[in-house]
């Protein structure tokens, strides 16, 4: 049990980190999703692993129960990571449509000034920080 959970977390994390280093929007999104799965399983395990036990203190039964707090934490973490992934997908899509490139570091590929870039500043950006 411990071995399975530990290796699951390890594999998911490794895969997630690898995909994040690909520097293209879609793999990075997948990588972050994998990482968030890894972290959810990890939090779940942080309250010690217990099988077949309810997360409720029973007044009548014996005192063995599984820790309810990690489950609450994981719920919150799942909701947040879903929301964040959705935001990331939208921003990634926006950046892709804007720049015609799905690289996270867009500037490496396209260096010519874009005439419609950054209307707010009023001038094309040529050099970057």
């Amino acid at each position: 049990m411990e071995l399975i959970v530990a290796s699951t977390v390890g594999t998911l994390t490794a895969g997630g980190v690898y995909l994040m280093l690909r520097l293209r929007t879609f793999p990075v999104i997948l990588g972050l999703a994998l990482l968030s799965y890894a972290v959810n399983v990890f939090i779940f395990a942080s309250g010690r692993l217990a099988i077949d036990q309810s997360p409720i203190l029973s007044r009548y039964g014996e005192a063995s129960y599984t820790d309810p707090l990690p489950q609450a934490l994981v719920l919150t973490a799942i909701v947040i990571s879903f929301g964040m992934t959705a935001v990331l997908v939208m921003i990634g899509l926006g950046a892709y449509l804007e720049a015609d490139s799905d690289r996270i570091d867009i500037e490496a590929e396209t260096t010519e000034p874009d005439p419609q870039s950054d209307p707010a500043r009023g001038a094309p950006e040529e050099t970057k920080a």
């Binding site: 997630g16 994040m20 929007t25 990075v28 972050l32 990482l35 968030s36 890894a38 972290v39 959810n40 990890f42 939090i43 395990a45 942080s46 309250g47 010690r48 707090l69 990690p70 934490l73 919150t76 973490a77 947040i80 990571s81 929301g83 964040m84 935001v87 990331l88 921003i91 990634g92 926006g94 950046a95 804007e98 720049a99 996270i104 570091d105 867009i106 500037e107 874009d114 419609q116 870039s117 950054d118 209307p119 707010a120 500043r121 009023g122 001038a123 094309p124 950006e125 040529e126 050099t127 970057k128 920080a129």
Partner: protein
């Protein structure tokens, strides 16, 4: 039980959806509501500061559950100070955004702005680390929207990197929390302080891992080397008022380091007391260097200011790393100062850049209010670099004065003084190109290259002399710096009390875990 403590979270949280759903078609209404809400937040913040000034730690238990089991909000002098700082800054930034029309260049500016305030206030008030994570996410998700507000290719690119960076940071945060929970069985800061003290040093390995992970996460937020690289691109490409508001976000990271690493892991906790000092100090020294060289090498005005923010975070964290009361007081003073200094510079630069039609460090014909902008910019630069009349000097002096320990002094003094020198040179160079050379005749050789841009700049500059209401916010930020210099004595006295309270771990723990009539209010 007092309900005032939760209002800084509730008020923006209620106002934001109201603006988003009810007032989205009526800009005037949305603006009015947003300004009214932020003013009310300021009033509440003043009230909370007065309340916290008695030196007690006030707590608010949500649902009236006792502390380690339920969620608590904790108001002490430090969190009251940070809330006050946030609300003053928010009002300044909001007025700037409205008067310059930034809020109309994309949708839902005011909604996101209020959500951002909710996240920041919540992060300052919360009493347990998991809710710190939740409020971090709230403020981050709002900041993503604000960051790419009004779009554009460059901004989307920087925004995407910013989002990915922060999502990776959030995952790390959760890993840290999981480790911490596995090691101690609690996430309440006061309870953590108790439990960690009980762990014998030789068994503290897991807690140490969690502490280091948390340190890294907060370092990402505070833009500490080696995880500062997202900041210059983000701040430089964000809309200027948003960048000015973000000046408080790096402070959220610094605040989290302060809070968690003094109360839960800090001095006196056998297993974890040396972590912050060991890792934070060298990283902060390098951060100063990165900021200073960035200022020196920046080719545009906005990245230049962004790098000066990195440098100021380094100075702040050098003082924090000492984890001694005197240094902490200096750090808090410098924190207040650098927030206003950064905001002031971003707002002024925004006005100047709008008139010049681009933030390149290149001489273009002088704008209508060149003299005024130059004066404001140099005042801001003097504050940021730490030159005498303004509070940056006092802040740096306090920091230097506090760092006299043998091992620290050489590094800290040379880094801060050297960094200040480079920052001054960088600002002088940028300012003279932008504001002084532009009044001189342009050399003919530069003309072919810059001609279209100048034409465009002229086109942009022609209509707009900044109205007084557009300049007022920067003036107020500057006035805050002046006030901070003039009232440095009272401010330092107040901050000394804050530091004393921050280091009074037993008082904090007692207030949170053992509610007594005295602390319940």
């Amino acid at each position: 039980m007092m309900h005032w403590i939760i209002l800084p979270v509730i008020l923006p949280a209620m106002l934001a959806p109201l603006i988003g759903f009810v007032m989205r078609h009526d800009m005037t209404l949305a603006r009015t509501a947003s300004v009214a809400g932020t003013s009310l937040l300021l009033a509440i913040a003043i009230g909370l500061t007065v309340m916290a000034a008695d030196g007690q730690t006030h707590i608010y238990r949500l649902g009236d559950w006792p502390a380690p089991f339920g969620i608590v909000l904790v108001l002490d002098r430090l969190s009251a100070l940070m809330i006050l700082l946030t609300s003053v800054l928010a009002l300044i930034v909001l007025i700037h955004a409205i008067t310059t029309g930034w809020d109309a260049r994309g949708r839902h500016f005011h909604t996101l702005f209020q959500f951002q305030l909710m996240g920041i206030c919540g992060a300052f008030l919360t009493g347990d680390v998991f809710n710190l994570f939740v409020f971090f996410e709230v403020l981050l998700i709002a900041s993503y929207g604000l960051m790419i507000h009004s779009g554009g290719r460059e901004r989307m690119r920087a925004g995407l990197q910013y989002v990915v960076m922060n999502l990776a940071g959030s995952t790390l945060f959760l890993f840290a929390l999981g480790t911490l929970y596995a090691a101690t069985g609690t996430l309440n800061i006061a309870d953590l302080a108790v439990r960690i003290a009980e762990i014998p040093p030789e068994e503290a390995a897991l807690v140490r891992v969690a502490a280091v992970l948390l340190m890294i996460v907060f370092a990402v937020k505070a833009a500490l080397f080696p995880v500062q690289f997202w900041l210059p691109a983000t701040y430089a490409n964000a809309p200027a008022p948003v960048a000015a508001l973000f000046a408080i976000m790096t402070k959220v990271g610094a605040y989290a380091i302060l809070r968690v690493h003094t109360t839960a892991f800090g001095p006196g906790q056998a297993g974890t007391e040396d972590i912050a000092t060991t890792w934070l100090f060298p990283a902060a020294i390098v951060t100063i260097a990165v900021g200073a060289f960035g200022v020196l090498g920046a080719k545009r005005l906005m990245p230049l200011i962004a790098f000066s923010v990195v440098g100021s975070m380094g100075t702040l964290l050098v003082a924090v790393a000492a984890f001694a009361p005197a240094a902490m007081t200096a750090a808090l003073y410098y924190m207040v100062h650098s927030t206003f200094a950064a905001a002031c510079l971003f707002l002024i630069a925004d006005l100047a850049v709008t008139q010049r039609g681009g933030d390149h460090l290149r001489a273009v014909p002088a704008t209508v209010q060149n003299g005024l902008f130059a004066a404001l910019f140099f005042a801001g630069a003097i504050a940021m670099a730490g030159m005498p009349p303004l509070s940056g000097f006092l802040g740096k002096l306090l920091v230097l004065d506090a760092l006299r320990a043998p091992g620290q002094m050489v590094w800290a003094w040379s880094a801060i003084l050297g960094g200040s020198l480079l920052t001054i040179v960088g600002f002088a160079r940028a300012g003279s190109i932008v504001f002084w050379k532009s009044t001189a005749t342009l050399p003919a050789a530069a003309a072919p290259e810059t001609a279209p841009e100048i034409a465009e700049a002229a086109e942009h500059a022609a209509p707009a002399a900044a109205r007084p209401m557009q300049i007022a916010p920067s003036m107020i930020a500057l006035a805050a710096l002046v006030a901070l210099s003039i009232f440095a004595g009272p401010a330092t006295t107040y901050l000394e009390g804050t530091t004393a309270q921050l280091f009074d771990r037993d008082g904090y723990v007692a207030a949170v875990l053992e509610p007594s009539p005295g602390t319940e209010d």
